[in-house]
């Protein structure tokens, strides 16, 4: 069985022109949701509007994701405080719901210094968040594109790895564009 979920940011909400129907995502069989909370120390302006709906949508899991800026220590504590402020229900989640938090580790044009976070920075961020939140190890994910970090670095990643491989990136219903459980995209290149 394959489980599917979208991840959303203010780009999706703004493209739509109105609040995202999160219950509708659940009705379309999405089992979970990740939603952009922040980048560096900036908060996504649509996080509360979108993610607050996740509390009652009936997901098996959901949580924020944070775009980690390079060379800026202390982001884990900042993120944890924002979660307590903007989604405090994650600290006492509904029965049958598991909170997650994903570190989004890549490079964006606005970064200063202009580089991707190092593996050490990624680990520090997740380690610190884990210590602050008390959440389980597998509740903390690392979104880490292989094209950016390479297999050698990713092989040293100590947290669950969310790979990013779009293939031809076709448009369409999420199940129909899925490459399959046996796709080579699941594998880290040797």
């Amino acid at each position: 069985m394959t489980l599917f979920w979208p991840d959303l940011s203010h780009h999706d909400r703004d493209r739509l022109g109105h609040a995202i129907d999160v219950a509708g995502l659940r009705a379309a069989d999405a089992v979970g949701l990740t939603c952009k909370l922040s980048e560096g120390t900036s908060t996504d302006p649509r996080f509360v509007e979108t993610f607050s709906q996740a509390r009652t949508a009936g997901f098996a899991f959901a949580g924020p994701y944070h775009v980690l800026w390079p060379g800026q220590p202390g982001q884990a504590a900042w993120v944890w405080n924002r979660i307590k402020q903007l989604a405090p229900w994650l600290l006492d989640p509904p029965k049958g719901f598991v909170p997650v938090m994903m570190g989004d580790f890549e490079i964006f044009q606005e970064f200063t210094p202009f580089r991707a976070p190092t593996l050490a920075e990624c680990h520090t961020f997740l380690d610190e968040f884990k210590a602050l939140s008390g959440w389980g190890h597998n509740q903390l994910w690392a979104y880490m594109p292989e094209w950016l970090y390479g297999s050698t670095v990713i092989s040293k990643l100590r947290y669950p790895w969310i790979s990013s491989k779009y293939g031809g990136n076709p448009a369409g219903p999420y199940k129909s564009i899925y490459p399959g459980d046996g796709s080579a995209r699941w594998d880290l290149a040797a």
């Binding site: 069985m1 394959t2 489980l3 599917f4 979920w5 979208p6 991840d7 959303l8 999706d12 493209r15 995202i20 129907d21 999160v22 509708g24 995502l25 009705a27 379309a28 999405a30 089992v31 990740t34 098996a60 899991f61 598991v98 997650v100 389980g136 190890h137 597998n138 509740q139 994910w141 979104y143 297999s151 092989s155 040293k156 100590r158 947290y159 669950p160 790895w161 969310i162 790979s163 990013s164 491989k165 779009y166 293939g167 990136n169 076709p170 448009a171 369409g172 219903p173 999420y174 564009i177 899925y178 490459p179 459980d181 796709s183 995209r185 699941w186 594998d187 880290l188 290149a189 040797a190």
Partner: protein, 170 residues
Amino acid sequence: MTREADGLQYGSRATYGAALSGCDTNAARFNTIADMQAWLTGGDTDVALTSDEIAAIASAVWTRSIKNDTTGVAQTAGDRLIGAQSQNDLDAAVAAVLAQARANGTDLSALAGTVADAATHDEIAAVLAAIASQPTGAVDVAALAIALAAELGPDLAQQVADELHNRLQS
């Protein structure tokens, strides 16, 4: 080294029913939702350290300096280990020597008494024999006393005199 992804983001133009289109979409491979939830909440101890991380930890432990409470000197783990091994050996050796020394001391004390007694007895016997070999009247008692004291020391001389007296009286 190969690794399988725990989750895969496989597109950025996905449609989720009527709710949304053109969004990022992700997948995870589990038999059931409950299995995924069990994996989410049960993963605190299953991540193995890499070989590089183990080597770095071992190096950090070995070179870490910690103050020795007894000496007040900061030592690395390597130095402390060597020192402890040597100190243990030294302590054991000293204890063995002390035990033997105590045993030897007891023996020596006993032996000293025996030797002293033997020496004293032999010396006195020799003096008496010498006196007995002298013709009667030929013993200059005063001179003998002076000679005894000079030769034997006051203690032995006294013992000789006492023994002479006893024999003459008997």
